[in-house]
């Protein structure tokens, strides 16, 4: 007997109805084969809208449903739910995307209406041939992996661990803490970064539910939501994590420096400022977690000529071991939180600011190190000759809001620039000039902070600094760096002589983020940041079920936003784990063993090795648990013995015919 199809056309307010002549489309739909019922409604996704469908299925005995509304990626779940609730196999639903692909992208009304008709015709044709599928469930492995140990990763890991679930925290550096651990103060509240971060880092180190894999990278990732298998390489740090007690004798004795050593006129080397010991065996910061040093192969004498080993001799617990090798581990988890953070824009790409050519031109991060109490200068703001500066220029938007580099706004620069200005005022008597294009003080307490700095007497100049030179033209410029700028409010070109310049460089996506995205198959936007599933309603989810994102790897953001997002991601991961099981792709491939000739072309074609060869029967067979339903094998099969459920040849051909005729 022929199917009974119900067609439901959504106005979506005026989103669709404003362009597409609904009545005309309804009339048209009625004429289509197998269509038993056509309805239109303001909002099909609403409760009453869904009820229309449910009732018809029950009363009219519909056995196929076509909803013409928004994108299936938006509401397929919703309407499948409705069908199921009415006792209809949910795979007998098909959607026609007459909003995103029609009303929203078409200029004129008439063509939009025509297009809508065609799309519905196609949908009906396919729906007629749809077949019921049974849903498949898989167990969710309760453990979670967090990639990246910055503040985002730390927050997520702690939240999940506190909920009583096991977390693997993978950090590529020797210590967790990320960028935040390198800051002195945090805007706008000016509380000390170390004071609020260190306790959290310690918690991570001690938490029974957190296994910290520091100095490690994820090399491989297989599986799917609920059942991932990650291969992690733990790089050898040449110091035994268990034996070492972090006493620090090794770096006190170590003769080799891993950064440029200050000497002569150069009392402070700005691009060599470190928060930890500057030696070849070191900890990134003194608050490092784990509190175990690592050896820098480049600068270590032993790795150069096989001699020295002073660290080995001095170590009281015999923890140092130059022969140590990498360890590779396989870890099973149910979901993953990616929190790989950001890197700073390379300011040498803008030679007009003379970074690298002029001493006392610093990047924002270098200035943080300068201010950090634990740093080489004990938190004093000093020029390379060891003197405190008499005047400082802080320049916004270096590499941000600039089509030549990054078109986006990095979002944090304005406020950390203000923070710097405050620190300078607090620590020195220097005159502070702040060069900005627009002062973006949108966050909680930001505008008040801006006001505070105005009152602290910072000289704000609206205009992007054009160039920096060290060549005086006027007497007051002797021995200074000169910032040339158009003071747009004064409408005059100014030359501002200063002792020190801080470049507020942009936040950009990291290279290893790219690797991770390849690893997991995450999408990223053109500027390299990971793409969330929905910009407003699913900001921590991704296109891949069971993989969540948090922090600056998704887009530039400040610490509060990062922490909030991290907790959000943690909640998502816990939700999955709590559910215990999840429904997976039912639309897998199926091989008709009578038609299969056993040519095995499909076997190597399958990216998931889901197709095995049954040698005694001389046919191939699909392993449902592994198959993702991409359909590559289907298209490749020379004797069309493979069918992709929901996307069978006859179904697709019918849809194609439908949309075209």
């Amino acid at each position: 007997m022929s199917p009974k199809i119900g067609v439901y056309i959504c106005h979506c307010g005026t989103n669709i109805a404003g362009k597409v002549a609904i009545d005309e489309v309804v009339g048209f739909a009625k004429t289509l084969p197998n269509v038993a019922m056509v309805r239109e409604y303001k909002f099909m996704c609403s409760e009453p809208g869904q009820n229309l469908i449910k009732d018809d299925i029950k009363k009219e005995k519909l056995d196929r449903v076509v909803v013409a509304s928004c994108s299936p990626l938006m509401h397929e779940k919703t309407f499948r739910g409705a069908c199921e609730a009415a006792g209809l196999n949910k795979y007998l639903l098909h959607m026609a995307n007459i909003r995103e692909h029609c009303s929203w992208v078409t200029e004129e009304n008439a063509p939009a209406t025509e297009k809508a008709k065609a799309l519905i015709r196609g949908a009906v044709a396919k729906a007629a041939l749809l077949e019921p599928l049974e849903k498949k469930e898989v167990k969710i492995h309760p453990h979670v992996m967090v990639i990246g140990g910055g503040i985002a990763g730390i927050q997520a890991a702690l939240d999940i661990a506190d909920s009583g679930r096991k977390v693997y925290l993978v950090e590529k550096d020797p210590s967790i803490g990320g960028h935040m651990a390198q800051f002195d103060k945090t805007f706008p509240t000016l509380d000390c970064a170390a004071c609020i971060l260190t306790p959290k880092m310690v918690q991570v180190g001690q938490h029974p539910n957190i296994e910290l894999l520091s100095y490690s990278v994820v090399e491989k990732l297989e599986g799917f939501v609920g059942n991932f298998k990650a291969t992690v390489r733990m790089k050898s740090r040449y110091v035994d994590l268990k034996k070492c007690n972090g006493c620090g004798d090794c770096w006190n004795k170590c003769p080799a420096w891993r950064v440029e050593k200050p000497k002569g006129e150069k009392k402070v080397v700005h691009n060599a400022l470190t928060l930890g010991p500057p030696k070849a065996i070191y900890m990134p910061t003194l608050q490092s977690i784990p509190a175990v040093p690592v050896i820098d192969k480049e600068s270590c004498i032993y790795f150069k000529n096989g001699k020295c080993q002073i660290c080995v001799k001095t170590c009281p617990t015999g923890a140092v071991d130059h022969k140590m090798v990498d360890v590779v581990r396989e870890i099973e988890i149910g979901s993953i939180i990616v929190a790989t953070g950001y890197k700073l824009f390379d300011v040498t790409k803008m030679p007009q600011y003379g970074y690298g050519r002029y001493p006392n031109v610093l990047t924002g991060l270098e200035f943080e190190h300068l201010n950090c109490a634990a740093g080489s200068t004990g938190g004093q703001v000093l020029m390379e000759n060891g003197e405190p500066p008499k005047s400082i220029a802080i320049i916004h938007c270096i590499g941000s809001r600039d089509k030549n580099y990054h078109e986006y706004c990095s979002r944090v620069c304005c406020m950390y620039a203000l923070k710097f200005a405050h620190l300078v005022k607090e620590k020195t008597h220097a005159e502070v000039y702040d060069f900005y294009i627009d002062m973006r003080a949108f966050g909680k307490g930001f505008e008040e902070f801006y006001n505070r700095l105005l009152e602290e007497g910072v000289r704000f100049i609206r205009g992007k600094a054009a160039q920096i030179s060290n060549e005086p033209i006027y007497p007051e410029e002797e021995g200074k760096l000169i910032v040339r700028v158009d003071d747009t409010l004064l409408g005059r070109v100014r030359r501002v002589p200063v002792d020190m310049v801080v470049l507020c460089s942009a936040i950009e996506a990291t290279q290893d983020a790219q690797d991770v995205s390849r690893l997991l198959g995450l999408c990223h936007s053109r500027d390299g940041f990971f793409a969330e599933k929905h910009p407003k309603l699913a900001p921590v989810s991704t296109a891949i079920d069971g993989v969540f994102i948090a922090g600056c790897c998704q887009s530039p953001k400040d610490i509060p936003d990062t922490v909030a997002q991290a907790s959000g991601a943690a909640a998502q991961a816990m939700m999955l784990a709590a559910r215990g099981a999840i429904e997976i792709e039912a639309a897998t491939a199926l091989i008709d063993e009578d038609r299969c000739t056993g040519c095995r072309i499909c076997n190597d074609l399958c990216p998931y090795h889901a197709i095995e060869f049954i040698s005694d029967k001389k046919v191939s067979r699909v392993n449902d648990a592994l198959c993702k339903g991409c359909g590559t094998c289907v298209a490749a099969c020379p004797c069309s013995a493979i069918a992709a459920k929901q996307f069978k040849d006859n179904q697709l051909l019918a849809e194609i015919e439908g949309v075209l005729s």
Binding site: K464, D486, V493
Partner: protein
């Protein structure tokens, strides 16, 4: 300079002006300007301008046609292209300056800078011979715009002359007839739109 109006009335604005400039090849991006001042800060001559490149762009967008096209400042551009390469919005500022110069000539606005006269003389000479003839060019220009300059620079001219760097007789191209025909045609095309 124009007298500043007491209140800028919308009725006095030429809101189409910006589109006119944006329609010129190279001018498209003018609407993207965020007034950061990178152009003017980089400009070697902006410090003498009443209206820096930045404020000229702003006035174009605001619709102050006359004020912009009468402005002597557009003739101060040395086309060093520093603004062009630095603009964070990839606005081709130098090309826009050229565009403004041309619009200013087209609109027959009183030209207040000698740059215009130099350009005019340059064109005359080139259209005559197919090539520039520096000696004649300078004579024409100074006589036209700056007689005193002629005397001021006579000595330098002499210096160049004795070093064989100031030929008296113009270099002419052979196919002057064809060349002028081409020029004439190009003129008529660009005037036709």
């Amino acid at each position: 300079m124009l007298k500043k109006p007491d209140i800028q009335r919308e009725g006095q604005m030429d809101l189409g002006f910006v589109n006119e400039v944006a329609a010129i090849p190279g001018g498209e991006k003018i609407v993207d300007c965020i007034q950061c001042g990178t152009c003017s800060g980089s400009c070697p001559t902006s410090f003498l301008m009443e209206d820096s490149p930045r404020s000229l762009i702003y006035k174009v967008r605001a619709g102050l046609r006359e004020e912009v096209l009468k402005s002597p400042d557009i003739w101060l551009c040395t086309s060093c292209y520093l603004c062009y390469v630095r603009c964070p919005k990839s606005i081709k500022v130098t090309d826009i300056m050229y565009a403004l110069k041309r619009l200013s000539c087209k609109g027959r606005y009183p030209i207040q800078r000698r740059g215009y006269h130099l350009a005019k003389s340059f064109m005359k000479v080139v259209n005559n011979y197919g090539r520039n003839q520096e000696t004649e060019l300078l004579l024409r220009f100074f006589l036209r715009a700056n007689p005193i300059g002629l005397i001021r620079n006579a000595f330098i001219g002499f210096n160049l002359f004795i070093r064989g760097r100031m030929p008296i007789f113009p270099h002419k191209i052979r196919q002057r007839k064809e060349f002028r025909a081409i020029v004439a045609r190009a003129e008529s095309i660009s005037n036709s739109q």
